[in-house]
Homo-oligomer: 307 residues x 2
């Protein structure tokens, strides 16, 4: 199975309002809830592609119960979440129906004690034994050491399990130094990590800092990959109107799926680009449109960069 | 005991953000939760004044469990809520720390089935047997008939229990026609009910529609009461900076408290004005400042209107 780690899982709540007006009172016309956090999104896409996925991370309180109830209904995803005493956070996305724009409110997450963090590491070590790859995804909840991902990267490497890291800020900086097989930063994360707003330079710098391979997601410019086997560009398809929520997580799922199926880098990148685009055009945030994926997969161009 | 009815109870969530910017993503710096809905607020104030209060209404799902857990920690308030299959709604108040302003997002509430509404009426009839007064508060969840409050007013009157109604729109219109002992509309509710934006005329019209007594809360202009015993004005104290959330519910608690303690109208109105003001100045939404209440209670002027 493929293991995805989401230390700061979330119950993702979406509110639709006719028009969002700051400092006014609004009746919410529609409420939807789904289990969230980047690693859970990755696992859902992997399962839809036919892989067995297992999710771990922290879960607690009433929102944690709601998350697990909903996760149990997702085919192909196994729940190996570790209980904590604090409540799982909520994220609230407020969709303004007059413009289609979204305002996002993210709770910080439960405070994790040193004993809970130790219990997680033990569970993680056990799960690595049956994992063919692991993805470490998203932000850290309060209380988890800032070097948490570095620790988890080292444990995966010691167990010879390929490890992908997708996070930001100081946890990314420390995690990269622990030499993960792959990191997937976006333009903002690259700039924060390296101080460079020139993506290609920032990608090279990220690799020098320790990542074996770097796949940068550059929004409308598509993916840029710097790997031990070479360097590739995969432009995003034209005219993608829709909701970019979860597009990065779908790219991660595409890269892992391709790796596990023994595909070469160009085909892995093609999966990532096609899944990402098929997620943007899907009506529900974080879902992907299977028809669009199949169609794009055959058409995505991945170009080798020679320098 | 005093019975308060909140058909659309809520888990009230408050988010603090440094600055609310529509269409941006925000990290919430502080999350607080409390059991909410107007009747629950009324019960909490009554309990703080030394009365025994019992709350009923609908409760369900994970948010319902969270609400009941927190309600159990409130001294002097008994939980007689009736279970429904749908989840209790959340309300989210987003406080912009740069301005102090609040943006409110209210979920609609669970869909209540005819069988659930029938079960509630049976429970309510049982509770009336030991109630010395009843307050019917707030909006109706989906599925509850628009004439629900009229039905509950008639049941209270048949049981000879004094009944106060505090709602809005069509449920208020129908409820008033069922001849409650007291209604407590604000200026907006009065205008919606009567079509008149002249409060004194609207108060008279409301009484003609069936309410035995009307106490209108007119914001900074204070309270205006039209009763079988006479007509009074009770101006609000000057300079009230703070959060008006729950001020109307505290006024309801003051009126009921005074009624049960055998006070005359001027003293009931003084309690309502002082509690209302003490709620505005309290730091936490819906709480009242006991010191301010005691001080204002001795100073509030209630003037008889002779015409």
């Amino acid at each position: 199975m493929i293991l995805t780690v989401t230390l700061n899982t979330a119950l993702d709540i979406t509110y639709r309002v006719p028009r969002l007006r700051p400092h006014a009172s609004h009746r919410v016309t529609e409420v939807t809830e789904r289990p969230g956090g980047k690693g859970l999104n990755v696992a859902r896409v992997l399962a839809a592609l036919g892989h067995e996925a297992t999710v771990t991370g922290f879960v607690g309180g009433g929102t944690g119960r709601a998350l697990r109830d909903r996760l149990a209904a997702v085919d192909g995803v196994s729940d190996a979440l570790v209980p904590v005493s604090g409540p799982t956070r909520r994220t609230v996305a407020v969709v303004d129906e007059s413009t289609g724009d979204t305002t996002q409110l993210n709770e910080p997450g439960p405070h994790v004690s040193p004993a809970e963090w130790a219990a997680f590491q033990e569970a993680y070590a056990g799960l690595l034994g049956s994992a063919s790859a692991v993805a470490l995804c998203g932000s850290l909840p309060p209380g988890v050491p800032v070097g948490a991902y570095a620790t988890l990267v080292r444990a995966a490497r010691a167990a010879s399990v390929p490890v992908l890291l997708d996070t930001s800020g100081e946890p990314l900086r420390r995690g990269v130094a622990a030499r993960p097989d792959l990191v997937k930063p976006n333009a903002g994360e690259l700039a924060e990590l390296t101080g460079s707003h020139e993506p290609l330079q920032a990608v090279r710098d990220t690799r020098r800092r320790g990542a074996h391979a770097v796949v940068a997601s550059l929004g409308a410019r598509g993916l840029y990959a710097l790997t031990p086997d070479g360097e590739w560009r995969a432009p995003a398809p034209d005219r993608l109107a829709g909701n970019p929520t979860g597009a990065g997580d779908s790219a991660v799922a595409g890269l892992l799926s391709g790796l596990l199926d023994g595909e070469d880098w160009p085909r892995r990148l093609a999966r990532a680009v096609a899944l990402s685009a098929a997620t943007v055009v899907a009506p529900a945030a974080g879902e992907f449109d299977a028809g669009t994926y199949e169609k794009l997969l055959a058409r995505v161009s991945v170009d080798r960069v020679t320098s």
